[in-house]
Amino acid sequence: MQASDVRNTGDAAENSAISEPLLEVEDLRVSFNGANVVDGLSFTLSAGEILGIVGESGSGKSMTALSVMRLLPQNGLLSAKRLKLNGEDLLSASDGRLEELRGASIGMIFQEPMTALNPVLTIGGQIMETVRRHMNVSRREARERGIEALRRVGIPSPEQRMDDYPHRLSGGMRQRVMIAMALICRPKLLIADEPTTALDVTVQAQILDLMLDLQAEYKMGIILISHDLGVVSAFTDRVLIMYVGQVLEDARADAVFTHPLHPYTEGLLASIPPVDRDQEHLQTIRGTVPPVFDLPPGCRFEPRCGYARPICATAVPDLIDCGGGHRAACIRNTGYQFPGVGQ
């Protein structure tokens, strides 16, 4: 709360539009056994920008994050036209170089702070491992930095906590430890995959507040992956809405939540029971998410779309700019015409 005056409220995208993007992803594809779980994903992230990636289970949002870290499971095939961090190509980087980058330039926070921490090592041991791997410092210095990092994320009596094992901490405290570890080398990019999903709502608010404080201080770019539209709407500058491996909408957070341009986004927003007013009947999106091995030939959302026309069943819409950088993959925005084809 105390740092809210320094927090930007959504202008990072414009401010740094001229500067070199922090992360460039173009035509990213991830496939397992021939099925594309991420299919032609492109986005850029500016330095200091907070990007939200939203989608339901199976939308490919977590696989996108793992691709950027080059941490896909063994049988996952990755291809992309471009995958660059700070101008450095991640596709051709050696395993050794990738190990240097992970933890130092890219930090990651996972959903489950219990499984992400090693239960048989002390918290201090795990933090110091990160520090000593990436910085040439003595054990004593590493310990000092670890204590400082734990203090920064609001862990009481950090000197004692350094020698505790993860099971001694509550879920919220464990997630603070994860954040301290992810940020101890001041990475330029933080990937947070459902960081508060396992937490209670009062603790979730504390963790999100802490992450915004740290972002204002360290100015890192953040990719927040979440299924929770409330969290994303309050936390991010820009949002990608994903659906079975593709981006259907890409816009500033306030625009996505006030004027969604894709029917899927509209349907998602209407599906959430609101906390701040009574609503008797929820709008739902009909049907279910199609499996990746049996996708509709045209627009992937067509079978569930209330606005669908015959052409949607055969034509695949591009992600087109509908003004002000608000992109959506729906031909409704071009009057059911394809851009470039005669009116």
Binding site: M1, T9, V201, D209, H227, S233, A234, F235, L268, L282
Partner: protein
């Protein structure tokens, strides 16, 4: 005691329900210590009503749901269902009673036997209770599948062939098979994606209207609880701290904990890049704070709160709260 509706027709009356779990001994000859997971919880649910039960993890909401169905033995207190004292029934009477009280769990993966088909799973309760003959069960199965939005060919499929939402539909059909009057929904939509969650919530509401069901709806999701409940009880560390009809509870919450919960839910409307936070974590139930259990995190606590436990009192008809300061200038009521 709590309910004061003029024409109330309670189907469930829970009075001073208590559950202690033993949690190991301190040393070989030491005394075993216990954790009070549910502490003097009382509420009623009227026929055809949905009572929402919200709270954070470890507050005792799930334990309360299981105590009511006698899936767990209570340490003290009473549960009356349809005028019968559930906790003192003989085993055979209890089995008969279970026909009228069912439960839907959070995890539709764990709740269904992977080696039984959807059809077998749905008619299993009928078989166990010896209801109907084979032909009548088959007819009932078709009706139930249709009712929960599944097709009749689904009956021959196994749980792994279904999506999470469809599996939860099977669980619902299974719970409905014995035509119960009362269903405990324990985080029944929490594991589902939002678009599927909305479909299941609408289904539960249609079923309630058509079949005159009564729900105890347990959830940590305040939006979901607001949507489905007629009245809402808020639990903190084993106790109900506030109980009110939905409108007043969400519009003018009287307990500082309820207020904090509601403000903690993020949304762009509450201000971007700012989160309302209260201090600390939920304390351990093994060693709850003295006095008011919320005083360690309460922004308006006074000295009295740390020594004297507040009791539930009625602030407005049907709106009860356990806070010393509710209605005083420090915590005016209504708050908005």
């Amino acid at each position: 005691m709590i309910s004061s509706h003029p024409q109330s027709d309670p189907i469930l009356v829970v009075d001073r329900l208590r559950k202690d779990f033993t949690a190991g001994k301190s040393g070989f000859f030491g005394e075993s210590h216990s954790i009070r997971a549910v502490d003097d919880v009382s509420f009623t649910i009227d026929r055809g009503e949905t009572l929402g039960l919200v709270g954070e993890s470890g507050c005792g909401k799930t334990t309360t749901g299981r105590l009511v169905l006698r899936l767990l033995g209570a340490t003290a207190g009473s549960v009356q269902f349809d005028g019968k004292d559930v906790l003192s029934l003989e085993a055979s009477e209890m089995r008969a009673m279970r026909r009228h009280m069912q439960i839907i769990f959070q995890d539709p993966f764990g709740a269904l036997n992977p080696r039984m088909t959807a059809g077998e799973l749905i008619v299993e309760p009928l078989v166990i209770h010896g209801v109907d003959d084979h032909v009548a069960r088959e007819r009932k199965l078709r009706r139930l599948l249709d009712r929960v939005g599944l097709a009749s060919f689904h009956a021959g499929r196994y749980p792994h062939e279904f999506s999470g939402g469809q599996r939860q539909r099977i669980c619902i059909a299974r719970a409905l098979a014995l035509e119960p009057a009362f269903i405990v929904c324990d985080e029944a939509v929490s594991a589902l994606d939002v678009s599927v969650q909305a479909q299941i919530l609408n289904l539960l509401q249609e079923l309630k209207r058509e079949l005159g069901l009564t729900y105890l709806f347990i959830s940590h999701d305040l939006g979901v609880v607001r949507h489905i409940s007629d009245r809402v009880a808020v639990m903190y560390l084993g106790q109900i701290v506030e109980l009110a009809p939905r409108g007043p509870l969400f519009q003018s919450p009287a307990h500082p904990y309820t207020q904090a919960l509601l403000r903690s839910v993020p949304s762009a409307a509450k201000g971007r890049k700012s989160f309302f936070t209260i201090m600390g974590d939920v304390p351990s139930a093994a060693n709850p704070p003295s006095g008011c259990r919320f005083h360690t995190r309460c922004p308006i606590a006074i000295a009295r709160c740390s020594t004297e436990p507040p009791t539930l009192r009625e602030l407005a008809p049907g709106h009860t709260v356990s806070c010393h300061l509710a209605g005083s200038p420090a915590n005016p009521f209504p708050s908005v």
